[in-house]
Subunit: 356 residues, 4 copies
């Protein structure tokens, strides 16, 4: 049975783009009460002043940003969202968990099961390896059941969400060679965070497109861990992120070799039915995955401002490859919206509450 | 010996983005005299009125746009640029060639050698198949010698230029499996032409990214023909174009399987030396190909407004793949600049004249 | 007493930007049921197909777009929104009113009281001058009482909203010389509508800023009529619209001569108190007018996606002028949001229902 | 007589947007030899590495950025461009002038004649008030003669250029009430410089428009000084700058009261002839001022990448006002192009050399 007793929530680190979006979603959420929002930079100021765009929402005028303090937070809220840089998130998660809070962490700190992989990709020892086994990877379409009982939810990265949702069902069904996956992703600039760096100035991004972190971006670690769990064998993939001049949105184009060979329209049609069935079975009832039909292809403008991932695919009889494309809002389904979706599951609310 | 006797030139179809860029380049060219510019839409108007941005250039105030007429054009100019939709370009090329003009065609009409492939990709019989053998593919870095003596130059498409320049040397050297090529391209909206269609309105493109023509875009035909010629066997590749909200620029990311297996840093270093040598040999002296060093990766903002293609590559020991990235201005190196480069070769001018 | 019996609504002309925003707002409205949406272009298609971005909302999958038919609409809905080009809106409003519907018209057809002025600005006789007396100008902050009992609401234009809300209180209070008003406005491209015209292509708007309709834009007619009603004398103002490369938003900067002379900080402080009091009295309790304090100035990014108008002002002791600046979302407070606000008043709902 | 003996030039402070544009213009200039380019940040690196977009120009590969040192610079070059923040420019100008160099300063340091006004607007004492009398305001259309013999040229600001060129002829001819001038300006983000500040991040500027520095921007000081010199009386104007999401360009809309009253089309036509004659006399032969005819209005996209200012005007018989609009590239005619234009005059080159 769904309950609707309001839950008391807090956001630690509200001045970044994900933090700001959490503020927006939680101020409007029908079953959440935002009791604390922290920001070292803006401590003491009213929410409505720091984020004028939310000023007309009840709550934004009375709530003030505060210095982050675990003891205080644990008194104010039951569910705490951490929208902090990786490394720092762990510093808050550890005491908050001890104090009995449920923690939904949007950083990379608890997404991996393997502390060795963490060190390889993040360059230092994991600060709390004992928590890795305990944390649940907050991808509701895959870990809904585990999220329900979690005390620590590691909300996935924006790129991983856009890559895992289209690939996991195919890998689990054995429809593709998992080592053949190539993910080419395009991200809006908000993905870089609200950081005062030359590279992200308007004039450096506008009328510009560029790849970065080639060939080994940190998000590979969680993508490959999840794919490996699904495949039952270690999976290594290719992933190239690009920066494009939009505020929001990730478009990922995936190239894969199907397990079954095909080289003409008939073969493609047969395999196509399996793929359709596979996606239908995985996502046919998912409120936030939109499987496109007919000629439609994903377009970030159709998902911006929503918690939806669009997915479409094509089989190419000329090359024998499968191309899958996805689009999401990097700050919503790729970050804050997905975190709220996890909260809804955790608290027994309707999963779409505050997200449609 | 380089000569600098000015050449009389004309542009047929100046109202599109490629035509406009040809006007810009040829008005400023030290050895070209623009004697005719045609446009059905703007016939009778001064160049300076239709293109105010060129009004301060000598010539823009006196020259008027005219109705296109092959006989008249043949009297006015020796080299004629065709910036017309495919299909219509051939209607002008045929009489102009008979009248003794040199023709540089920016459309797709004469890029293929095989009329059957033309029909497969363009949906109708080729209007002048006898000219296909005669035409030269206007990629100077590959066909410099042939361009010198050509009467009909088929200037390459924007995507093909961004894909062929990075791949041809590798294919010719046998360094990669030619069937493994995957090209993921991102293009600015000018690539769609100056067409009054809803899909290209500001509000439909801004804050949007989307793939299109998946999996079989028309440009595949010329890309595969050129790669096949280089490989000595029929090559089929994967190509996915995307539309991104910039005016200018194409960024292509290529994924390939090297012929030589490698799986660690040492193997990558060895293969890397071969790739470096291959590119150095192909482009070390090319004025318009910039091979990036060190950590640098291509960025369209570094090539916009220039005739340059930037190329960088990375070997990924985790996957055994080679990733090559290129950036160009789709209207300059991808269209009008490359056509002027061909004209320079054709006329015996310094190849960079009017382009640096 | 506020009632919450749901109202049956319909939208005529859903394929433009205002129509699309009405669909978004009404699908999510807690007290409205969307029973019909018309579009000649998309008749027969499901709402979710034409507007994929709304596909996850209940209702978007079942409701289909239909041909507009007044008799049918009158059976399906009690309140009808017209999001049609001016001239065509009247063709629907006339029969719908006869059939007993309440009509909220987003076009310019019924905004003026004076048919002569209509003809001067729109170039032809008004099609139903007898309705002009009956219609209510749908600016809730001014005509809340009249909207409550209206059968025909003429929802204001986007520029007029951004100009009238900042000026009307000052004019009514006699604080400024009404003939001194200069309004310099900057609008996003959605203001031009979803029209396939070269001028609104991405490449023609991006990296471009331009004034248009100088010095006599059609919106002057309704602005001046409303200001004249407030002033008690005929008011003529200066208004210059500009097109800037954003999807959404209008920023208006207004220059005015205060009735009281001032030339130093002390004079400015005294006058400033009167202005503060004037705005506070007019808008202190308005949910959708945000009076900025301190150093804050309007920024369209703070109002986009909301029904809010931001207003700030400065007195310049150097020139003796008052500068007032406003920002709004041209499609929400400047069009569809304001229309829904009127519906809320008309139906006795909380005025902010479905808008916060 | 025009000479074309090459001049040795240097740029101090090349890492900002104006500095970068100077590098571009001077590398391509037919009569200038770039002998030194300084940048503390990039000292030691090749020009081609710091600015890959210039890598194909001869000179960019051999020239290295260096630490700024007046003695060294004076040995390397005869004309020195200063592209430095205000305050710092004076620190270099003073020794360079003593060492016999000609200095073209793009900062605000020497634009004012009055050290008191400097202190009022810039907040500290002028570092070298004795140089103010000596410096020439580098607006070639006004001070061509003085520039020819200047040792210190203070190149105007971007906003001042866009405001002064349209207003000075009218003020000098007494056609307008000089105290009535209102300048509403819209600037691209490059105007803020290449500074790592949150306000200029892509996501903070894209889909945003905002006024700033209301009502007293620093550029008012030089605008008003120049207008006062032209009017023969002290002139105070209204000026409101706005930030819009484009890289380049300033669009200024000016509102003025003509000295002669008019209130109908006939009056407007008569006054219009005087205005036409006034502008024609001032700018009819100017290579970089484009007076628009017919229905044409300024559009920044028509001037971007050029040294041209577009000007158009309209008389409004409804209000009796004159509206004048101008467009320029803020980094070229508003900064670096204009500085090169001054260099051309100073050195006796054709004024358009390297600028068309």
């Amino acid at each position: 049975m769904k309950t609707t007793t309001p839950v008391k929530v807090a956001i630690v680190g509200a001045s970044g783009y994900s933090g700001e979006e959490l503020v927006r979603l939680l101020l409007a959420h029908p079953h959440a009460e935002l009791h604390a929002v922290t920001s070292r930079q803006y401590a003491g100021q009213a929410l409505a002043r720091v984020f004028p765009r939310f000023a007309c929402r009840p709550g934004a005028r009375t709530l003030h940003l505060s210095e982050p303090n675990p003891e205080m937070l644990a008194k104010q809220a039951d569910v705490i969202f951490l929208a902090l840089p990786h490394g720092i998130a762990a510093e808050f998660a550890i005491p908050l968990l001890k104090l009995g809070c449920r923690v939904i962490d949007l950083s990379a700190d608890f997404r991996l099961k393997d502390a060795v992989v963490y060190k390889e990709f993040y360059g230092h020892d994991h600060p709390a390896p004992e928590l890795l086994a305990k944390s649940v990877y907050g991808l509701p379409e895959v870990y809904r059941k585990e999220i329900k009982d979690a005390s620590l939810i590691a909300s996935p990265g924006c790129y991983p969400t856009s890559i895992l949702l289209p690939t996991l069902p195919l890998v689990r069904a054995g429809l593709i060679h998992s080592h053949s996956i190539i993910a080419d992703s395009l991200s809006g600039v908000s993905g870089a965070g609200r950081k005062a760096e030359l590279d992200y100035l308007f004039c450096e991004c506008n009328e510009s497109v560029r790849p970065y972190s080639v060939p080994k971006h940190r998000h590979l670690s969680e993508i490959e861990e999840q794919l490996s769990l699904a495949a039952g064998v270690k999976v290594t993939i290719q992933f190239t992120p690009h920066l494009i001049p939009v505020n929001r949105g990730i478009l990922t184009t995936l190239y894969m070799a199907p397990s079954a060979h095909f080289s003409d329209a008939t073969g493609a049609a047969e395999l196509g039915e399996e793929i359709t069935a596979c996606y239908q079975s995985a996502y046919g009832n998912e409120p936030f995955v939109r499987l496109l039909n007919g000629n439609a292809l994903p377009d970030t403008k159709n998902v911006i401002g929503t918690n939806v991932v669009e997915i479409a695919w094509r089989l190419d009889p000329r090359t024998g490859r499968l191309i899958v494309m996805s689009a999401e809002d990097n700050i919503i389904k790729g970050a804050s919206g997905q975190a709220v979706q996890s909260m809804n599951i955790l608290c027994g609310f309707t999963e779409t509450a505050g997200l449609i």
